[in-house]
């Protein structure tokens, strides 16, 4: 059972209150019509799936019902930190190789 800190509620809550929305920071193409099949398939289906730190989106389904981001290690399941949409993450990408 993960204990997840909701940055909106500012509380550690149990995993069952949340739902998982996959990899974070995927930008929807501004002009989908102009994309090649490769680029569109890449946007829809191809994910980083790292063995190590993963930036992902969570939804506090039975709490504040708001989305937020988390940086979580997919091997140890440690949640390094969570942050609101629009916030700058505290950990920069350079430090995320550890544990991979």
């Amino acid at each position: 059972m993960l204990l997840i800190h909701c940055p909106h509620c500012r509380e550690d809550r149990e995993e069952e209150e949340f739902s998982y929305n996959g990899e974070a920071h995927i930008v929807r193409p501004l002009d989908p019509e102009s994309l090649s099949d490769e680029a569109w398939g890449d946007y829809l289906f191809f994910r980083k799936n790292p063995r190590g730190v993963h930036r992902e989106m969570w939804y506090h389904a039975v709490g504040c019902r708001r989305y937020f981001y988390a940086a979580r290690n997919t091997l140890s399941y440690e949640i390094l930190h969570t942050y609101c949409v629009g916030e700058k993450p505290q950990i920069d990408a350079a430090n995320e190789g550890a544990g991979a």
Binding site: G22, S76, Y77
Partner: protein, 416 residues
């Protein structure tokens, strides 16, 4: 390889079973192989076996970071069925089921394949519509199946609760009599022994750390024991497929999730079939040893930890206790998790790649065990001939760019 037989059992009994031969060698890796199979699970070993047996390619190594059959092959719930909705998937799983039917003889190794039948329960009107559609599709594809009533379900599995008063009453099921279970470890060991006898090298405790390429073509793999050359590299690494693909600069549309299972203490025979329920999310069978083998769902998030969340198990056991009230007092013995590589359309990837001589067989997600023989068979053919086997062609990784997905989510009686 000495053949196993009643006579060999008798003669070895006379020497207190101390003189059985090792069932595979543990050779030092050669400098170069025709094919290196990365991953020594059931699918990888089956691939190596059929490469040697069907295609005569015997200069093959299986490189495994742990021990043979120690990953998901040892962690699944051993259920076998082929009642998939779509033609492409149905044909692939049916090929596997047909191979299962002769596998113990083929390998001279008892894989304990038991065609005890598989029930997929329906709990509401939409479940039953889906079940009827799937059973009809199966029969058109020559796959056995029938829609059964609660009374018939009760005959097949007498301990089941068909009361209309429960939270999710059972109102019918699909029944595939040719489905069943097999001994998961024996499948890995049988294929390893068969492949070894044909000259395939089993390289255990050796982790592949890189895939060396020259001019866009594979030349070998870097391992913890040094470089091993190869003309072709076939990757069958389940949950770690994305990690291996990244070694060759490739991406795969798979996400790795922990999937859990658990077994109870051994009890007397009480369930001689496999019962699965998609809607309440649980599946159960009884092993020959007597334990109830129970499959839970995948965790909601990506993970490589080979363990899962407790509430997922709790959820599954609620379902099992409702289906089988008699099981509510059975104690659970062990619980574990495996890392499965799930694909967006719940179908596998059996594919060439943009790197010459590099092939992937992955994305089997939560249901790969049942396909082990068929998967190895078509993948060996794909690798040997450098073109997709006709049954593997629809499972090319390109389908995620062309849009020709094979959407088996929910449609296949998949329990998760």
């Amino acid at each position: 390889m000495k053949k196993y037989s009643g006579f060999s059992l008798f003669s070895n009994a006379l020497s207190y079973h101390e003189n059985w031969q090792k069932i595979w060698r543990s050779p030092k890796p050669k400098r170069e192989y025709d094919v290196i199979v990365v991953g020594g699970g059931g699918h990888g070993l089956a691939t190596a076996y059929y490469l040697a047996k069907v295609h005569g390619i015997t200069n093959v190594a299986v490189v495994e970071k742990g021990y043979l059959g120690g990953g998901n092959t040892a962690r699944n719930t051993t259920i076998i069925r082929s009642n998939y909705l779509w033609d492409e998937a149905a044909q692939l799983y049916e090929l596997a089921l047909k191979l299962w039917e002769g596998l113990s003889q083929e390998l001279n190794y008892n894989v304990m394949f038991s065609q005890r039948g598989v029930l997929n329960l329906g709990h509401n009107l939409q479940d039953m519509r889906d079940i009827e559609r799937r059973v009809n599709a199966n029969r058109l594809n020559g796959i056995d199946g029938e829609v059964v009533t609660p009374a018939r379900i009760k005959e097949i599995a007498p301990l089941i609760n068909i009361s209309p008063d429960c939270r999710y009453p059972i109102i019918g099921a699909s029944w595939q009599p040719r489905g069943g279970t097999a001994r998961h470890d024996a499948v890995a060991w049988g294929y390893a022994r068969g492949a070894d006898a044909l000259g395939v090298d089993m390289i255990q405790q050796t982790e592949v750390t890189g895939i060396r390429r020259e001019n866009g073509t594979v030349v070998g793999v870097e391992t913890t024991e040094g470089f091993i050359g190869a003309r072709k590299v076939a990757c069958v690494t389940a949950g770690n497929s994305g990690v291996v693909a990244a070694m060759a600069g490739l991406r795969l549309p798979v996400e790795s999730r922990p999937l859990q299972a658990l077994v109870s203490e051994p009890v007397k025979p009480c369930l001689d079939t496999v019962v699965m329920s998609n809607a309440v999310h649980g599946y159960v069978s009884q092993s020959d040893k007597g334990d109830l083998v129970i499959g839970a769902g995948v965790d909601g998030y990506n993970g490589y930890g080979q363990r899962g969340s407790f509430h997922v198990i709790e959820h599954t056991l609620q379902a099992i206790c409702e289906l089988f009230p008699a099981f509510s007092r059975v104690r659970m013995n062990r619980q574990w998790g495996g890392v499965v590589d799930t694909c967006p359309d719940a179908c596998p990837i059996i594919s060439k790649t943009s790197v010459g001589g590099l092939y992937f067989n992955c994305g089997w997600g939560t249901g790969g065990f049942k396909a082990t023989p068929g998967s190895g068979y078509v993948f060996a053919d794909t690798v040997a001939n450098d073109r997709p086997h006709p049954l593997a062609a629809p499972f090319d990784v390109d389908r995620f760019n062309t849009g020709a997905l094979i959407d088996e989510h929910g449609a296949a009686g998949v329990a998760h």
